[in-house]
Amino acid sequence: MSLGDFLDERTGYRKLTRELLDEPVHGGARWAYVWGSALTLSFVVQAVTGLLLMTAYQPSATTAWSSVMYISHELRAGWLIRGLHHYGAQAMVVLLGAHLGQTALYGAYKKPRELNWLLGLALMGLTLALALTGYLLPWDQKGYWATRVATNIAGSLPLAGAAIQRALLGGADYGHLTLTRFYALHVGLLPALLVLLLAGHVALFKRHGVTAREGAVAARTEPFYPRQLGRDLAVGLVVLAALFALTLRHHGAPLDAPADPASDYPARPEWYFLALFELLKFVPGDIEWMAAVGIPLALGGYLIALPFLDREPSRRLRPRLLLLAPLALAFVAAAALTSSSLLADAGDSGYQAARVHSDARAARAVELARRGVPPEGPLAMLAADPETRGPELFAQRCASCHRLGTLGPSADKLTAPTLDGFGTERFVLALLDDPDAPELFGKTPFKGMMVSFTRPPADPALAADFVPMPLEDRTAIAKFLAAEARGTPRPGSRGEILIKQHCTSCHRFDHNPPLDESSLGPELRGWGSLAWTTAHLANPGSGASYPQGAMAKDLEGHMPAFEEELSPAELSLLASWTLNEAARVAP
């Protein structure tokens, strides 16, 4: 007795297999019948890859992004698994459309298959809910903001809206419990319901059989195996190959920067919700839910009603055209809205710039995270990174007056010195040559306060005695100050001696003269160094950089103190980034 006989005697598996394989296919095997099987196979891919992702994913606001980063960039084949899951979800949406379209065109929703049509619609709802809940789980900008929008729509529903939103979020705000709730839905409740309904769907399908195309009806019937099964499998393989191709092409699934509630992010949903997203642009906020929830509900309601509206036994297409027209219309409208949304974004330079910024932040976050994320999470990691936080702070606090690299106002709107090259020899030489140049003090309240060491003063009486400082001396001063700025001072050098001879009648040096003097020139000891610059940002009139008088309120346009707005860590980070960036973009 073979093992097969042993098992068959006890389970009867052969009869069962045969029943499945010999399932009659009315009208013969057709490519049109493959969509249901292709969907089921795709769900298998989602279940397998999803289970694998569960072994590494950690749903909490401080770990979710990092664990997804770890899956995508550190674990072996993690990028592949996540890519298959990501594109598999989109494939399911496409296949759903094909399955629904084929069923509607063939009139397969008609009596006696109405209930199976309804089960199919419920399965569609579950699949879209899985897509929506899965989108949040990486806790990246994209998922976070898309979910914020989606849950705010739920919150705008009349009566129960606020309660629904609170239940979804697990509280008043987005955080740990939002993630665990979406996770429980995504890996627990929704797939369990989907499997249950799928079993019912398949059982009812077996009961009624495939709906042959009108005209070819039952002309010939053949068993499911081998030709229909072969076709189903072939399409399944093509879909899987497409998932592999997409995953290889993009090296896995995208991962945006960690979710940051305080950031400006150009939120967009996944492509299959873009039509709804676009629609919301045209709907006033107070009736938004009517569009965002009402239209999908109306469409769903129509789909539910379809088999009961269309009671004609014939499945010929022509008499049904009128009934199918609203579906076609909805499809065309969705396609139009989707392309309109894509076109709008493609032509929107602001959106493109925001996208580039977000992508750069995402790339930097991954680069940092691969070295290790602190227990406080990826946002703390980014906040401590000068390359990320520096330009952001500069853009927020400095760039309305100062120019540095690509940041800051255009040349005609400058009200403070351009900082390119600040702290370098060339910068000092330019100051000694023409301090009132437009990119130096020319457009600031300090215009006319510093003298040029190469050009005679405007006053003819003073000009008569003017002797330009030799280049050699200016270079020595510049070298000395640039060394101070780099933090490698050269005390006692010729530059220092020259400064004491020529500059200290206006400038302070080693805190001389004392602060109550009227001179407004900044301290030159340590000029442009990290300590000097940090102190300057904290309070430019503290005496550590400029004396108090230089920042007096009556000097309109003076630099503000940031010590109350920024933490000491932020001040030092901003100073350090600004100095590095100034040296990097030096002319």
Binding site: S66, S67, L75, R76, P223, G230, G236, L240, A369
Partner: protein, 215 residues
């Protein structure tokens, strides 16, 4: 798919596979009411000739195997982590030499940075070691029992080390004296620099005679 449906059909006077004689497209026409949902008797027509059926069967089998393999291969790789590159254990400062009494075993904590998957925690207690001073030298023993990893303590009489879990007993020099431990306590590299004791903290696999670094 080794079952041949023709063999067990009670009513299969003519085995289904053999029915097909005409070209498959114009196969036997079965008069049928417009399909109104009745379950069709499944044995009317077979559309595929046996040789072709066999080829299709092989193709379907190969396709299924390919499908399963395409998922199983990445899954296996994903679930079997690569061995971490073994970094040279760095010496970590643990205690001042002055704080150690001659020949008295003292347990000290080792602090350092720990990487757990993606999280890096700074200055965490990584584990503890037993130190014993001999003049200006210090010997260090891992406080993990080589048997199954419980924390080894000094016995009440203070003349030996003992494991509280399975009662392995070790001499103060670390040699295994009794109990199930397969080897002596694990020595760690220790040195004295500027009056500080430094230890190179590593962990070894438990339960084997050989001392093998845990990656």
């Amino acid at each position: 798919m080794g079952n041949d449906p023709a063999n067990d059909d009670g009513d299969a006077k003519a085995p289904r596979d053999a029915v097909e004689v005409a070209p498959p497209r114009e196969a036997v026409t079965v008069p049928s009411p417009r399909d109104a949902g009745q379950v069709m008797p499944p044995r009317q027509v077979a559309a595929v000739a046996p040789p072709r059926r066999r080829v299709l069967g092989v193709l379907v089998g190969a396709g299924s195997a390919a499908y399963a393999g395409a998922l199983a291969w990445p899954a296996t790789r994903f679930l079997t982590p690569a061995e971490a590159p073994r970094a040279e254990a760095a010496f970590v400062r643990v205690v001042r030499l002055d704080a150690l009494e001659e020949a008295v075993p003292v347990r000290v904590r080792v602090r350092g940075d720990r990487r757990d998957a993606f999280t890096v925690t700074r200055e965490l207690t990584l584990g503890s070691v037993w130190l014993r001073r001999t003049g200006n030298d210090v010997t260090a023993l891992s406080a993990e029992c080589p048997h199954l990893g419980c924390a080894v303590a000094v016995t009440e009489d203070r003349k030996a080390f003992g494991c509280p879990c399975h009662t392995s007993r070790f001499s103060l020099a670390g040699a295994a004296e009794s109990g199930p431990s397969p080897r002596a306590m694990d020595p760690l590299l220790a040195r004295v620099v500027d009056g500080w004791v430094e230890v190179a903290f590593v962990r070894y696999r438990h339960g084997s005679q050989h001392r093998e670094v845990r990656g």
